[in-house]
């Protein structure tokens, strides 16, 4: 060996003069890449646009019609078919279905979003704790998760809805008064839907926490809290967003189920689900009773599922935009 540490390394070029690798093309930002991939997904664009229109429909309706219109009973105009006065027809006690689908849509969408929020709060917290810390905490919380999973969700929903529905007073929100049963439905759906999300988050945490950059962050003195929230969670966000999107759709469907069975949101507050309640008696004679709310539920759920699909492809860093 001819060099020793006391000699300056003369053969090495001065690194400061060197330019960064110019061959690396200036790439698009993460958001741009994601948008590109999303844009290529035709069905997702369709879903996003439809969903936007449905939201405008449900919430824009407030401007034109008041809630009183939605709950106005016109016994003289019972079961009217669609006409210029009632474009979607009227129901069994003469309420206008068009206005009711608008107000019902609000409730259905709000239930979907808030149930998702509840689900996210519980699912992400439990998934993150179990995935990051492991050990005994993991064992206990995962057994709890499995316990919730093995109970059929619909059954649990019906029992809880029946048990709690009467005990909650009405609430005011967005300048409207909601039946307390809406709150029950939201909580019940949220509380029974989180196990899948918790498992997804746990699996993500288990894999992301093994990355070198987590070790590097710990070696920089980053606290556990920061590691969980600033390093692991953002790296796990893609499947969480997708699962959350899909859970909005499933919450809307679940609300429709329960309301259809008469255990959901209490009338007169309209939801797409409880508008279907009783419509089965008129499947043939008054198709407009079930067609419009049913169509809106189907369109919304379909759009959200397409959107979720598109997001999954767009947010997956492994798929490349061409």
């Amino acid at each position: 060996m001819d060099s020793s540490p006391s000699q300056p390394a003369r053969s090495v070029p001065d690194v400061l003069q060197l330019h960064p690798d110019e061959l690396e093309t200036p790439l698009l930002s993460l958001e741009q890449l994601t948008w590109r991939r999303f844009r290529r997904h035709k069905m997702a664009i369709f879903g996003a646009i439809t969903l936007a229109l449905i939201i405008v429909y449900a919430f824009g309706g407030m401007v034109i019609f008041s809630e009183a219109d939605a709950n106005l009973v016109e016994t003289g105009a019972r079961l009217n078919p669609p006409s210029s006065k009632h474009p979607f027809g009227t129901d069994t006690i003469g309420r206008d279905i068009l206005v009711r689908t608008m107000y019902g849509g609000q409730i259905s969408i709000i239930i979907g979003l808030t149930a998702m929020t509840v689900e996210l709060l519980i699912g992400v917290t439990i998934g993150a704790l179990t995935g990051y810390f492991g050990g005994r905490l993991d064992s206990i919380l995962m057994r709890l998760t499995e316990a919730v999973l093995v109970i059929p969700q619909i059954f649990l929903l019906l029992v809880m809805a029946k048990y709690f529905a009467q005990s909650i007073p009405n609430i005011s929100f967005l300048g409207r008064t909601f039946s307390g049963s809406a709150l029950v439905i939201i909580l019940v759906i949220g509380v029974t839907s989180w196990p899948y999300l918790a498992r997804i988050v746990r699996a993500q945490f288990l894999s992301v926490k093994e990355n070198d950059f987590i070790l590097a962050a710990r070696a920089t003195g980053t606290s556990t809290r920061e590691i969980i929230f600033r390093h692991i969670l953002p790296n796990s966000i893609a499947p969480i967003i997708v699962a959350a999107t899909l859970s909005v759709a499933s919450a809307i469907t679940l609300e429709a189920y329960i309301s259809f069975l008469g255990l959901g949101v209490r009338p007169p507050t309209a939801t797409w689900g409880n508008m279907l309640e009783g419509a089965y008696n008129y499947v043939e004679s008054a198709w407009w009773l079930w067609f419009f709310p049913g169509l809106l539920i189907a369109l919304t759920v379909l759009s959200i599922n397409f959107l979720g699909d598109g997001l999954r492809d767009a947010l997956d860093p492994h798929s490349r935009a061409k």
């Binding site: 060996m1 060099s3 020793s4 540490p5 390394a9 053969s11 090495v12 070029p13 001065d14 690194v15 400061l16 060197l18 330019h19 960064p20 690798d21 061959l23 690396e24 200036p26 790439l27 930002s29 993460l30 990355n211 070198d212 950059f213 070790l215 590097a216 962050a217 710990r218 070696a219 920089t220 003195g221 980053t222 606290s223 920061e226 600033r230 390093h231 953002p234 790296n235 966000i237 860093p317």
Partner: protein, 330 residues
């Protein structure tokens, strides 16, 4: 602890309890580091170099890991005894680390600027504007041009060499007293390696740091280190000043490592020399000299008892029952 020592590790034992049994990763090693000194730790893959450093930094996950015994005195405090909160204050602030693979050591979803300012905010309590300013200075320091613009970029927009520079900038952000570089050039190509070595050498002078440089590359060792620790199967088998190691190595393993170096003055049609066999299975509790199975000087006593690390010259210790100089057992 002598006053000139920055770090003094004694009798460190690290084990991993896994399904197959217990891995004896580090088996009672002791070494120290003076203020401003640079040491290199060399050895084959899996001989405990990284585990030793991770143990000192308390980055081993427990379980399955266990630091069974030992002391790591740093500025009068035992790093193995202090609380996790105190340790968080030391990591990144006092002792910083640069890892092997720059491609995976940066968080892909955070911008470079965000990651660079992390330590500054955590340790120095800087606000956004200050830490941004400092991050730009740091990028300049490690030779990344157009630093202001680069702050908003993500790791995937950087090449390997640039990422390793960013890692070094992150490690140096709080001006640590000790930099542990865990094979920082292994994942890079040769020209970039040279740049990174040069960069660390320059910054070491500038910031007056001590450096522990882990590597398999004996060529880099000569360039950067003053003293070398040779590790094998979780033991330090030889410790020497860098010149002594190359000219007067006393341990058969070091001999074999040096002989395995590719040389430009060797004929092209000659095969590279290698050490026959593989390092021992660390699942078996160590007994005797771990190198015995591959050693050309082995005799009975080697199999029975692990040789202690004994003084063979000034600042030169070797753990071997055989004296390669006299050709006789000790």
């Amino acid at each position: 602890m002598k006053p000139e020592l920055l770090l003094d590790v004694t009798n460190l034992h690290t084990r991993f309890h896994i399904a197959e049994g217990t891995v004896y990763a580090v088996n009672g090693i002791s070494f120290s580091l003076k203020f401003g000194e640079t040491i290199a730790v060399v050895g084959e893959s899996g001989c405990g170099k990284s585990v030793t450093m991770m143990s000192i930094m308390r980055l081993i996950s427990i379980p399955p890991g266990e630091i069974a015994d030992g002391q790591a005195m740093y500025r009068g405090r035992d790093l193995l005894q202090i609380s996790e909160e105190e340790m968080e204050q030391i990591r990144g602030r006092e002792i910083a680390m640069v890892f092997q693979d720059p491609m995976t050591s940066l968080n892909p979803v955070l911008t470079i600027g965000r990651q660079l300012s992390e330590a500054l905010r955590v340790h120095l309590g800087m606000d956004n504007q200050k830490s941004r300013q400092r991050a730009i200075e740091l990028l300049d320091l490690v030779g990344i041009s157009d630093a202001t613009h680069q702050l908003g970029n993500y790791p995937h927009q950087f090449s390997g060499g640039m990422r390793q520079r960013v890692m070094i900038a992150m490690a140096l952000s709080c001006a640590p007293s000790l930099l542990i570089a865990d094979e920082p050039t292994t994942a890079l190509d040769v020209t970039i390696q040279a740049q990174i070595v040069e960069l660390v050498l320059r910054l070491r002078e500038k910031l007056d740091m001590s450096v522990i440089w882990i590597t398999h590359d004996l060529g880099v060792v000569a360039e950067i280190a003053e003293r070398v620790l040779v590790m094998y199967a979780g033991f330090i088998v030889e410790e020497a000043m860098v010149d002594d190691l190359y000219e007067d190595s006393r341990h058969p393993y070091t001999h074999a490592l040096l002989a395995a170096l590719p040389r430009v003055d060797r004929r092209r049609d000659q095969r590279l020399r290698s050490i026959p066999g593989a390092p021992p299975n660390l699942l078996v509790a160590p007994k005797g000299c771990p190198f015995a199975a591959r050693c050309e000087y082995v005799f009975e006593h080697c199999l029975a008892e692990m040789p202690p690390l004994i003084e063979v010259g000034t600042n030169h210790r070797s753990a071997c029952w055989f004296d390669v100089k006299t050709g006789k057992p000790r």
